[in-house]
């Protein structure tokens, strides 16, 4: 398999191979980061951290899942740890506060489809907690129990935040 060869070359510290792996997957993984981050800058920080972890842990990858799935999981962890870092000094109850993001309205992201652009821009403008929970539940397919553990919040909080996030989105999708 090409992918297996690529991984092996990366493991032998072949910079060309590492760049190849990065080029192949970074746009898709960056697509994940921009859904979680509060700004493009933060998304890039998450991406850098994630890729650093990917390369330093590549020898742990056993080809049991697809490489992309494995890399997405690492990137997601990187995103979650950023989110938690934001909230470390906050009261946990501040989850109820509406925190706005730094994404500019009409943020120009290269995308072929108008719908993609609109939806992503809406997601990015969601209050941070709504956005993270919405992404984890709807896109990544995690359960409320898992989300509670990841974000160190109550399962019920995750549930209620998701409902609010849905309402928030619904209001804007139909307007």
């Amino acid at each position: 398999m090409d992918e297996k060869k690529l991984v092996e070359r990366c493991l032998s510290n072949d910079r060309v191979a590492q760049k190849e792996l990065y080029d192949k997957y970074s746009p898709l993984l960056m697509g994940l980061c921009v859904r979680y981050a509060n700004s493009n800058e933060e998304a890039e920080d998450i991406l850098i951290e994630g890729f650093t972890k990917i390369f330093s842990n590549l020898q742990e990858f056993r080809f049991e899942s697809s490489l992309l799935t494995w890399m997405k999981r690492i990137m997601l962890n990187s995103a979650i740890s950023h989110f938690r870092m934001h909230h470390k000094h906050h009261n946990q109850l501040s989850l109820d506060d509406v925190e706005t993001s730094d994404w500019e309205v009409g943020n120009e992201l290269p995308s072929d489809k108008l719908m993609e652009n609109d939806l992503l821009s809406l997601i990015q403008r969601m209050p941070e907690t709504y956005r993270v929970i919405f992404n984890l539940f709807v896109v990544e397919g995690h359960s409320h129990k898992e989300i509670g553990e990841m974000l160190e919040i109550q399962e019920s909080t995750s549930r209620s935040q998701l409902t609010r996030a849905r309402n928030w989105l619904k209001d804007r999708l139909h307007s």
């Binding site: 510290n13 910079r15 590492q18 760049k19 990065y22 970074s26 746009p27 898709l28 960056m30 697509g31 980061c33 921009v34 859904r35 998304a43 890039e44 920080d45 991406l47 850098i48 951290e49 890729f51 650093t52 390369f55 330093s56 870092m85 934001h86 470390k88 000094h89 906050h90 009261n91 946990q92 109850l93 109820d96 992201l109 290269p110 995308s111 489809k113 719908m115 993609e116 939806l119 992503l120 997601i123 992404n135 709807v138 896109v139 397919g141 109550q154 999708l173």
Partner: protein
């Protein structure tokens, strides 16, 4: 719009990251390759420790700029320079740890500067100059402190260098700075307590300060570790009258100038509040279960907040 549609769209969005991402990843790859993929030196390695002492001034500046939560990010951004600082012998994790310990030193230093409040003269323009306790011009500084609007500010700024330094008895900084490198470090520190320094300036400072060939810096004194404020807030207590853990006791609270404790239940309602907490809350009539605490405190004039969960077991 159905979840599945949203999922399909969002999951496959591709965004091209900017060039800085790969550059950053690649430079970290290069550093870990230089480390031979292993941790060549432990965190306590003496070389790292001495280098850490040298770069601390630069890191303080960047820490001030970054502030609070973003601190970690800022440090990781400076990791290229830090890597140079440890001469590529540490892998990235080590540097991250080094960054942590440096940031702690920074806090301590700010605290120890604050401790010398009597020795700090506030100038009209908001600059704070720590003045040596053994200074030969105490009368002059008193005068300025009282009449801070007077133009004699210049006089103080022009005062001999050895008066413009941190207190040497704490060993936080060298005071007899006559060389340009030393004095600029000292100035950096005193001004950093009041005004932000641009990140690029901070980075520059790191590069300058790590020049191992500089004979002046070779003799730069290591900055000893003072004891940080330790505040231990328990996450559980057992008010059942057995004499053990009957009160919600925050260890180290006696070192706080101001304290405010708020306990909320899971619904977010305040169930206990104290504006001067003295480790004397026994849980009242609250049922066993999980609560949330918010603890505000002030040390040396700096306010902090700690929050967390608190379980009452009866």
């Amino acid at each position: 719009m159905e979840d599945i549609e949203i999922k399909n769209i969002l999951e496959n969005i591709k965004v091209e990251p900017s060039a800085r991402c790969w550059e950053s990843v690649a430079s970290q790859l290069a550093s870990s390759a230089a480390a031979g993929g292993t941790a060549a030196a432990s965190v306590g390695h003496s070389m790292l420790a001495s280098t850490a002492a040298k770069v601390v001034v630069g890191v303080i500046s960047s820490a001030i700029v970054a502030g609070g939560v973003i601190l970690g990010v800022s440090l990781s951004k400076s990791s290229d320079n830090l890597l140079q600082a440890v001469q590529n012998k540490q892998n990235i994790e080590n540097v991250a740890v080094a960054g942590d310990s440096l940031s702690i030193e920074n806090e301590e230093m700010n605290l120890s500067l604050k401790e010398q409040e009597n020795d700090i003269v506030e100038l009209e323009n908001g600059q704070v100059l720590p003045v040596n306790g053994n200074s030969e011009i105490p009368a002059q500084t008193d005068n300025i402190a009282e009449t801070s609007n007077k133009p004699s500010v210049n006089q103080l700024v022009m005062a001999p260098k050895n008066t413009v330094a941190a207190n040497p008895s704490d060993g936080t900084l060298s005071q007899t700075a006559t060389s340009p490198v030393h004095s600029s470090s000292v100035n950096q520190t005193s001004s950093s307590s009041v005004k932000p320094v641009s990140p690029s300036a901070a980075t520059q400072q790191i590069v300058t300060a790590t020049d191992a060939d500089d004979p002046v810096l070779e003799n730069y004194p290591e900055i000893p570790q003072s004891k940080p404020l330790v505040l231990e807030i328990p996450n559980v207590f057992t008010p059942n009258g057995d004499g053990f853990n009957d009160f919600f006791v925050i260890e180290g609270i006696e070192n706080c100038e101001l304290t405010k404790l708020i306990i909320r239940n899971r619904g977010g309602s305040v169930v206990f509040q104290s504006n001067a907490y003295h480790n004397n809350w026994d849980g009242g009539n609250l049922e066993a279960g999980t609560y949330y605490y918010q603890f505000y405190y002030q040390v040396h004039g700096i306010g902090e907040t700690r929050t967390g969960t608190l379980t009452i077991v009866r």
